[in-house]
């Protein structure tokens, strides 16, 4: 608006002088013209002053900016990594695992003196019993915060023709006071190794102890876990779990309640800058209602036995880690050991192959075992480890044993040595040798070359 007035005034200033010379009323016009010119000059100086002031302000602002440097400037919007709809996608991680295994051909692998933990993977071997080149299950993990209060995770184990839901749980993140609740299907917090997935293991196979107690995967709960960290200077954590208890050593009972309950307590701390440790004690109880297994009988050959009763176990675990000055990047050492004792009491109903009348006997066992493993990273990327496993078939009482079931008194044991190389924290190649005497009368020297590769946003691991 102002600029238009200015333009009009300027136009007048140029046109009028020519007319003024010829016109008799020129004296008055000349006076008006002079007044206009005066006005324009005033406007010009006013504007020039204001522009100069603005320029000065701008320059001083620039100087101040330079003084505070780029440091205090807010980060540019481009810096927030994920934007738009994809920002809310869960963290995805995929673990590829496979191996070459050389071992004896054994018809039915089992652990001498222990009732096998029935598992649907047994038919296809699930890597564990197969020989030669094998592809182990591929693990797909999806995890994300659900909202400010919850976090969720699902772990799928994918193998030919089947997808197994290993874990599917949510947990609270905002309860505070050291408490956390986890619900859904999750790996139980008992013991040390139980919560770890296969790709985190330091050896190709889990210890004999875990295989005897729970089968291939560790103990999975469909239930609820409550954990609490005590407000102390030292680490003290308590947890309780209640679950459906359908997995070995319990079985599917379809109760209007829960069939498994677990309690665990852990303490831990540092000794100086270089040493840290954690120790725990766990207890698990489940019940079985006609848990089926095969047994060898002197009288009838192979028979079906169904156990009904209570299974209780406790596990003690200890982990110790060393790293010079607490910096594990170059060298570090880890020692872990676990011990268990399991008691089962109830009765066993035995049917022969023809399905004749069941023979009942009491069933009372007390079995135990342990493993101890040390892994040393002696150079960047290189680790070497030793592990010793031993179980004790212990007391197995069947009363008069009317079905004549063979009770094997045996101490299964295995010694393993491994060396592995990691190009980065996402890729690992492992060579392992084991002398496996888990079965009476069989000494199996096994050699395995295994790879573990992680793709995607691989989550942090626990201690």
């Amino acid at each position: 608006m102002q600029s238009r007035v200015l333009l009009a005034a300027m136009a007048c200033a140029f046109v009028w002088p020519a007319a003024a010379a010829e016109n008799p009323e020129s004296a008055q016009l000349a006076a008006e013209l002079a007044a206009l010119r005066e006005q324009i000059a005033q406007m010009k100086t006013a504007y020039e002053g204001r522009i100069a002031a603005l320029e000065e302000k701008l320059a001083s602002a620039r100087r101040e900016e330079r003084v505070d440097a780029a440091a205090s400037a807010p980060p540019p919007p481009a810096q927030s990594a994920a934007r738009g709809a994809s920002a809310f996608n869960p963290e995805v991680s995929l673990v590829l695992q496979g191996a070459y295994t050389s071992r004896k051909e054994v018809e039915e692998r089992h652990i001498g003196g222990f009732v096998p933990a029935a598992h649907h993977h047994d038919e296809d071997g699930h890597g564990g019993d197969r020989r030669g080149l094998t592809l182990d299950h591929t693990e797909l993990v999806l995890a994300a915060n659900i909202d400010p209060n919850f976090r969720g995770q699902a772990t799928l184990a994918v193998l030919d023709g089947e997808v197994e839901l290993e874990e599917a749980w949510f947990q609270t993140t905002a309860l505070g006071h050291g408490a956390g609740i986890k619900a859904g299907r999750f790996l139980s917090g008992i013991g040390y190794l139980n919560e770890q997935h296969a790709h985190q293991w330091d050896f190709y196979e889990q210890p004999l102890m875990y295989k005897a107690l729970f089968g291939e995967h560790g103990y999975t709960q469909d239930g609820v876990q409550v954990k609490w960290v005590a407000p102390l200077a030292a680490f003290v954590e308590l947890g309780v779990e209640a679950g459906r208890g359908q997995n070995f050593p319990g079985d599917e009972r379809n109760l209007d309640g829960f069939n498994s309950r677990a309690v665990f307590a852990r303490v831990g701390g540092d000794i100086g800058a270089s040493h840290s440790w954690r120790a725990g004690l766990s207890w698990l109880q489940t019940r079985a209602d006609a848990r089926e297994n095969h047994f060898e009988s002197e009288a009838f050959g192979e028979v079906h036995g169904a156990f009904s009763g209570r299974s209780r176990m406790w596990i003690a675990d200890l982990v110790y880690k060393w790293a010079p000055d607490g910096n594990p990047a170059r060298r570090n050492f880890k020692l872990q050991a676990e011990y268990f004792q399991r008691k089962e009491s109830g009765h066993l109903a035995v049917e022969d192959e023809e399905g004749g009348e069941a023979l009942e006997s009491p069933w009372r066992t007390r079995q135990s075992g342990y493993y101890i493993a040390g892994v040393y990273q002696f150079a960047p990327n290189w680790r070497a480890g030793l592990r010793y496993d031993q179980l004790r078939s212990g007391r197995q009482f069947l009363g008069d044993n009317p079905a004549g079931i063979d009770l094997v008194d045996y101490r299964p044991r295995r010694f393993s040595a491994m060396v592995d190389y990691s190009w980065s924290e996402f890729s690992r190649l492992r060579l392992q040798w084991s002398r496996d005497r888990a079965m009476p009368g069989v000494t199996d020297n096994q050699v395995t070359l295994q790879y573990v590769m992680s793709l995607g946003s691989h989550g942090a691991h626990k201690f």
Binding site: A174, K321, D325, G326, A329, F426, F463
Partner: protein
Amino acid sequence: MAKCVMKHLLALLLFLCAAPALAAVKVLATVPEWGALAREIGGERVEATSATSALQDPHRIEARPSLIARARAADLLIAVGAELEIGWLPVLLRESGNRRIQPGQPGHLEAAALVRLRDVPETVDRAMGDVHAAGDPHFHLDPRNIVPVAEALAERLAQIDPAGAQDYRANLARFLARWRDAIARWEGEGASLRGVSFLQAHRSFGYLAHWLGLENRGELEPKPGIEPGSGHLSRLVDRQRRAPAAMILRAAYQDERAGRWVAEHTGIPLVMLPYTVGGTPRAGDLFGLFDDTLARLKSAVSSAPP
């Protein structure tokens, strides 16, 4: 007798439970530099500790039981962010069960969100090594970046402990005055370092180089987070003839072997820098960190062959 023991145990337990409530504001920093800053701003009112020491690689720490216990008790957590602690901090936060220090709470302060990060990669692929998608997280080595973090920290402390708000603001003003003077002094001392070229063990010194005008000639790691191999190191030695660097820099926590090998084969000095508070005896606080860093750089330049 048993009763008496029980009584004592109960009293001890009550004392242990009550003790944290009586103490000052508990600040847990993931790295020593922010622990030191919390001591500057918080003064007597805070009890600041760091989850890591200057001799530990902040990328590779485990969520140890002792750290879970400390995170459980903390009123304020100061993290670097930009994925530096991605391998352990998420687990630590979840396992602590401490609502106050979860992301989004006043007790969770992420320093990287307050500064402009450098070297933000255009694409992110693990084939490039352990790259940080949000940018280079080692920004505390440009002392100007300490300023916005100090300001934010004072505000957070005032929010968490309103009774001490006056103290925190006064401490902040005092600290910033000293800090700005120190920056001017360091920039004066560092003027002679402008244009000095260097190799570094890991990409730790990008901000320091940008601030002082040093020239980065490459890393001993072939890719971020990947261990140096002999092939890559030989190439660096070869390149030294064409584009010579004046020194090799490594942080106190980084292994010296690769650097020493290159130093022996090129004749340029291997310089250990404290990198963070506590990295050398002289780097006892934030001022000492930069005093010592500059002193070490200058002595390396003066001793280097022409």
